[in-house]
């Protein structure tokens, strides 16, 4: 076979294109993986995406569609996941909100169904569909240098109207709600602000820079510490539980005393 015949072989074009694609893909993956992690991860991330795709098809495609393009046909609904980013997947799946146990106004927090490795694979697959916020790194949500008081001010301005000033959560319309923040981790809080899950608006870095997010995380951690200078906090739910307390325990004690004092001595 001459070189000419090789060039003229009918499979040549296809092979060249395939070869070029492979070279570009591997090269691109190598370049990007240098930025992200070490070289062995290159091969791993390709398999990770594939592993994620398998998990996706088993657990998520029923609602979100085979291509993650979303379904909204009246009988079932799942939003498109193209471009939501790894952070959204990590938040929804690691907090157990996804997969949904049953259709509801809102996905409740529950023990996660997937292992951390599986969540990583799912996140890698969804991230591969389109550009979106990545999972934040530890130093992004590290609040150790943040300003606590500024965090409080930001929290009251941006968060308290739904999550309550003490982070205890609050009701929204039609059975929806802003959940309590008492068991949210710094990573989850950061991801939630970044991606705006469910009814929550999102706070991208353009409107709320990283330091402000860290300050808010610092304030939520302060709320979580449960520090209550005044004694039992009655759930920090405000005057409602205070009223319940005075009508039950409080008045109960005084009425018991009144009955005791008013009792006839025999």
């Amino acid at each position: 076979m001459t070189s000419t015949s090789l060039r003229r072989h009918k499979a040549t074009g296809t092979l060249v294109v395939l070869g070029a694609l492979l070279a570009t893909g591997v090269g691109y993956a190598a370049v990007t993986s240098v930025a992200e992690a070490s070289a062995p991860a290159t091969a791993a991330s390709a398999t990770l995406v594939e592993e994620g795709r398998q998990l996706y098809l088993e657990g998520c495609a029923t609602c979100h569609g085979l291509g993650a393009q979303g379904i909204n046909d009246g009988s079932s609904y799942g939003p498109s996941l193209i471009g939501v980013g790894a952070a959204a997947v990590d938040f929804q799946v690691a907090t157990g909100r996804m997969p949904l146990a049953a259709p509801a106004n809102q996905a409740p927090r529950k023990p996660p169904v997937y292992t951390p490795e599986q969540i990583e694979a799912l996140a890698a697959y969804v991230a591969s569909l389109g550009p979106g916020p990545a999972i934040p790194t530890e130093d992004q949500y590290d609040s150790s240098d943040a300003d606590l008081a500024e965090g409080g001010e930001l929290f009251r301005t941006n968060c308290a109207q739904c999550h309550n000033a003490a982070g205890k959560g609050g009701a929204l319309s039609e059975g929806r709600y802003a959940p309590t923040l008492m068991n949210a981790t710094p990573k989850e809080i950061y991801e939630a602000m970044l991606t705006g899950p469910q009814n929550m608006p999102n706070f991208p870095d353009s409107t709320m820079p990283e330091e402000q997010k860290q300050a808010i995380i610092a304030f939520v951690e302060h709320l979580q510490s449960g520090d209550s200078p005044g004694g039992f906090a009655l759930g920090s739910l405000g005057p409602v539980t205070e009223g319940v307390f005075i009508w039950t325990a409080g008045l109960g004690l005084l009425l018991a005393a009144a009955v005791w004092i008013g009792a006839k001595v025999r």
Partner: protein
């Protein structure tokens, strides 16, 4: 020793020559008061007021009623460097810097909740037992006025710290004032010294809270107590108790000891609660900023029913030209509270007019013997309860996984459906109890002793009730409903005011028409004649079978 006694005696006699102390004491220290635990509910309110005055004075020493903006530099780290009013900053200082300040603040606030709760329970005791009837109508009016003043007083105190929670409440009040047609906006500007929030309302509210309203309350409490003294205390029916006597113990020493002790019980319980349980953690809420709000913003519980009305109201508005009447705020915020206030204050006169009762009453009614009044009271509790629930609907929704919209619809429908049902059920229940009373009086109570007759029949032995119980049941007054007015008098002249009189007769029939008659003395004598636990033929049967006839037969 004798020198001290002599000197003390001289001092007293010197004072007595100038003021009639000993004769006053002599006349009043042995005054008799009846004994019952429910007569102490008002005392809880009175003692809470004393605790509020004592702790309030302590708080005024450090509280700064000023809306001047400062930067917080105290010891509560999460707020350091935040802009806030002096009022809020000084509340934080009272909580974190002043020795005992947080405890005193919490005693003050818990005592306020006790004050309102005790007043409500006390008022229902007065209501259900008919203690507001002649000659005590005026004291009811005074008590109801105090209740309304304390409602405002409590809200003022809740608002003074100028925290985010109370600021939202003040904003709602500003909105309610604005909703009054025509004058609303002017009135709001007048109260707040300009646009909301302005720089004035904390200092103005402060004057009302620490000076004006406590002063009025003090005066009214004085009159309230003097009237109790003057009218003598009512008593529950019982053996030996009549409308013209008071059976009980003397003020000194019995009630001086009991009431004095109870004051310390109330103070002790309030302090214990304040030491253990947080109330109004203002540091959680942050300073009031008009563009901030916290989920679960609530008023203190006693304002909750007003908030509940506001939350339940559909969004009705009328636009006339460029002018809007906000019925959605005006009706639940102004009109309904006004109607409820009048109904509360005027109830004794309304009932008096309906029943045509002009006699003095010193023996209390048993609630079952006035089914309509008891039914009204129960319906009011249901009405109030639904509104309180709706006032807390967001907290209930998040706590019990409910929909806030469903809770609002429950309120909108329930507020019209539930109170009438409660009225009807309570009314029936009272009449059932009246019938049981009559039964007990005529046939005794079911003793639980079951006897088997020789021919196999089982019968339960009824025994006569005690004389005390008889006296309680017999104390019920039989009141006939007013007769329907004649359309014309004997000369054929139409009765003046026929419509009003007809309405009155109809209402009177509602009040007393279902009354179960108390047995007459003749009926009781007749029943006693037949009051064998066993019928004659049953006794004969036992005797012929050679069995023992129970010894307790009359």
């Amino acid at each position: 020793m004798s020198i001290i006694v002599n000197e003390a005696g001289k001092a007293i006699s010197r004072a007595d020559q100038r003021m009639p102390i000993s004769s006053l004491l002599k006349a009043n220290m042995r005054k008799i008061f009846p004994d019952h635990w429910s007569f102490m509910l008002g005392e809880i309110a009175l003692y809470s007021f004393i605790i509020l005055m004592l702790t309030g004075v302590y708080l005024t020493v450090w509280f700064k009623p000023s809306m001047a903006e400062i930067i917080y530099a105290g010891s509560y780290e999460p707020l350091v460097g935040i802009h806030m009013s002096e009022a809020y900053a000084s509340t934080l200082d009272i909580s974190f810097e002043v020795r005992g300040g947080l405890l005193i603040r919490q005693i003050h606030h818990w005592a306020a909740l006790f004050f309102m709760a005790a007043m409500i329970v006390h008022m229902f005791r007065i209501f259900f037992t008919g203690a507001f009837r002649k000659p005590r109508e005026l004291n009811w009016v005074i008590g109801a006025s105090m209740f309304l003043i304390v409602l405002l007083e409590g809200f003022a105190g809740y608002s003074l710290p100028d925290d985010l929670l109370s600021g939202v409440g003040v904003r709602i009040v500003a909105g309610i004032v604005e909703a009054i047609p025509v004058v609303g906006t002017y009135l709001m500007f007048f109260i707040f010294g300009g646009e909301f929030p302005g720089n004035d309302f904390i200092s103005r509210l402060y004057t009302f809270h620490v000076l004006l309203m406590p002063g009025i309350l003090l005066a009214l409490i004085g009159i309230h107590l003097v009237l109790i003294f003057y009218h003598k205390h009512t008593q529950y029916p019982g053996a030996g108790r009549t409308n013209t006597n008071v059976v009980g113990y003397p003020l000194f020493p019995v009630y001086v000891a009991k009431a004095g002790g109870f004051f310390f019980v109330v103070f002790g319980v309030t302090t214990l609660i304040a030491a253990l349980v947080t109330i109004n953690p203002v540091w959680n809420y942050g300073p009031y900023v008009p563009d901030q709000v916290t989920a679960g913003s609530q008023p203190d519980w006693y304002i909750g029913f007003l908030d509940g009305m506001l939350r339940a109201m559909p969004n009705w508005e009328t636009v006339i030209g460029s002018y809007t009447i906000s019925w959605n705020i005006f009706l639940p915020g102004v009109v309904m509270p006004g109607i409820l206030t009048f109904a509360l204050i005027l109830y004794p006169f309304i009932e008096g007019w309906i029943t045509g009762d002009e006699r003095e009453h010193h023996i209390l009614d048993r609630p079952r013997n006035r089914p309509v009044r008891t039914g009204i009271g129960a319906a009011v509790i249901a009405f109030y309860g639904i509104l309180v629930i709706n006032g807390a609907n967001d907290v209930i929704a998040i706590t019990f996984n409910l929909s806030i919209n469903q809770l609002i619809w429950f309120t909108r429908i329930g507020i019209f459906v539930v109170p009438p049902l409660v009225f009807w059920a309570t009314h029936r229940f009272c009449i059932g109890l009246q019938r049981r009373d009559r039964e007990k009086l005529l046939h005794g109570y079911e003793s639980g002793e079951v006897l088997r007759l020789p021919h196999g029949e089982f019968i339960e032995i009824h025994k006569p009730i005690s004389d005390e119980e008889k006296a309680v049941i017999l104390a019920k007054e039989a009141i006939a409903p007013l007769p329907a007015p004649p359309e014309t008098d004997e000369n054929g002249v139409a009765t003046p005011g026929l419509r009003g009189k007809r309405l009155r007769a109809r209402l009177s029939r509602l009040y007393f028409g279902d009354d179960v008659a108390t047995p007459t003395p003749a009926e009781i004598a007749e029943a006693e004649h037949h009051a064998h636990e066993l019928h004659d033929h049953e006794v004969a049967e036992l005797e012929s079978a050679g069995k023992d006839v129970p010894a307790n037969l009359p």
